[in-house]
Amino acid sequence: MKFLFAQIKSKPVEYAILAIILVVSLIMLFVFRFDHHSQRRIIYVTAGLYFLWSLYHHYHRGDLQIGLVIEYLLFILLALVVLAATL
């Protein structure tokens, strides 16, 4: 878990924003646990915010590169593909 704390310590405000996005998303997913239509919309919004956060985070770190953008997009695409089949 050391690596998590090391990363969070380096940019506490940015990671606090990410934590808020993810925790709110988790709560909303629980609230709408029997409504798959709403759950899909929540995941789309979370994925969008996660992507925007990644752009902001790496821009501020000064290492925003196309390879990183592709990496985040592939993680999001994988999540959406799996959820499209299971929700």
Binding site: L18, S25, R33, L78, T86
Partner: protein
């Protein structure tokens, strides 16, 4: 060979200090494998409709009893069972199977209220709850009670009667059980009936409907469960790899430009948790 496997999970100078499984080409491979599985399941359900599906033990009597239990808990009078409403609920379920849709309004624009009228029920107020893919009646009622709009129908003091349709059939190539609740109060309140649900096992083909008293068990393997297990395995592998990769990178103080492992873990964990707790069954 063991070196190949190690490079999948462990950052090393031979994989440019990044576990291979986290590289774009392997993420694309995960996506490709998952899509191939989906195509296979779709092809299987198209070639052999009904091979995959849900097994359900839901009956209209159980749905009726649990619905009235909920009303009694809310200090409301029980709903009387009406066979005309049951007929309209069954027709609605059969229409969804016949026209391959899952919604209150059909693709041709037929509203739920049309089924009430076609069955010959004159209502002053009416409502509809839909459910599919549930295995047992308790989870089904729980799902409806957790949804404010569905709960509003179940514990509404506006309704006096109910009819329930529980119909097995093939929807989008997958065997399933559709449950339709039709709530209403007749225009003439002196006509409130007191029927009882009659246990029937309705099976729909593509266009014809067979009423059958014999019990026809449905297969228990669902495509959703297969997709869910594959998804969980994939995300489990990615989570473990992210942790191992980040730990070794930190320990070796390797400097590299990659996405934030913390953010990836957070996002993937949300999806992982959602997959674990996602309920079988859907309501509308």
């Amino acid at each position: 060979m063991s070196h190949f496997w190690r490079l999948l999970f462990i950052p090393h100078e031979r994989n440019n200090h990044r576990a291979n499984l986290l590289k774009p080409q392997f993420l694309l491979l995960f996506i490709g494998v998952y899509l191939a599985n989906q195509l296979f399941l779709k092809a299987l359900t198209a070639v052999k409709p009904g091979v995959l599906g849900y097994s359900s033990e839901i009956t209209s009597q159980k749905v009726y009893d649990l619905t009235n239990n909920q009303r009694q808990s809310a200090d409301l009078p029980i709903l009387h069972y009406n066979s005309t409403l049951e007929a309209s609920a069954i027709k609605k379920a059969q229409d969804m199977f016949a026209n391959n849709y899952w919604a209150h309004n059909s693709p041709t624009g037929t509203t739920p209220w049309q089924f009430f009228k076609d069955a010959g029920y004159q209502y002053s107020v009416a409502g509809e709850n839909l459910a599919k893919d549930f295995y047992d009646t308790d989870s089904l009622l729980q799902a409806w009670m957790n949804s404010p709009t569905h709960k509003a129908n179940i514990v509404s003091d506006k309704y006096q009667e109910i009819g329930i349709g529980v119909v097995n059939g093939i929807l989008n190539g997958v065997k399933t059980t559709l449950v339709v609740q039709h709530f209403a109060t007749p225009q003439n309140i002196n006509l409130v009936s007191n029927d009882t649900p009659v246990e029937r096992n309705y099976l729909t083909g593509k266009s014809q409907v067979l009423a059958d008293n014999s019990s026809t068990p449905l297969p228990a393997v669902s495509p959703l469960q297969i997709s869910k297990i594959i998804g969980l395995v994939m995300f489990g592998i990615i989570i473990i790899t992210l942790i191992v990769d980040s730990y070794i990178t930190l320990r070796n103080r390797t400097h590299r430009i990659t996405g934030s492992a913390t953010s990836h873990l957070g996002f993937i964990l949300i999806i992982f948790i959602l997959l674990i707790f996602s309920q079988q069954g859907a309501i509308f």
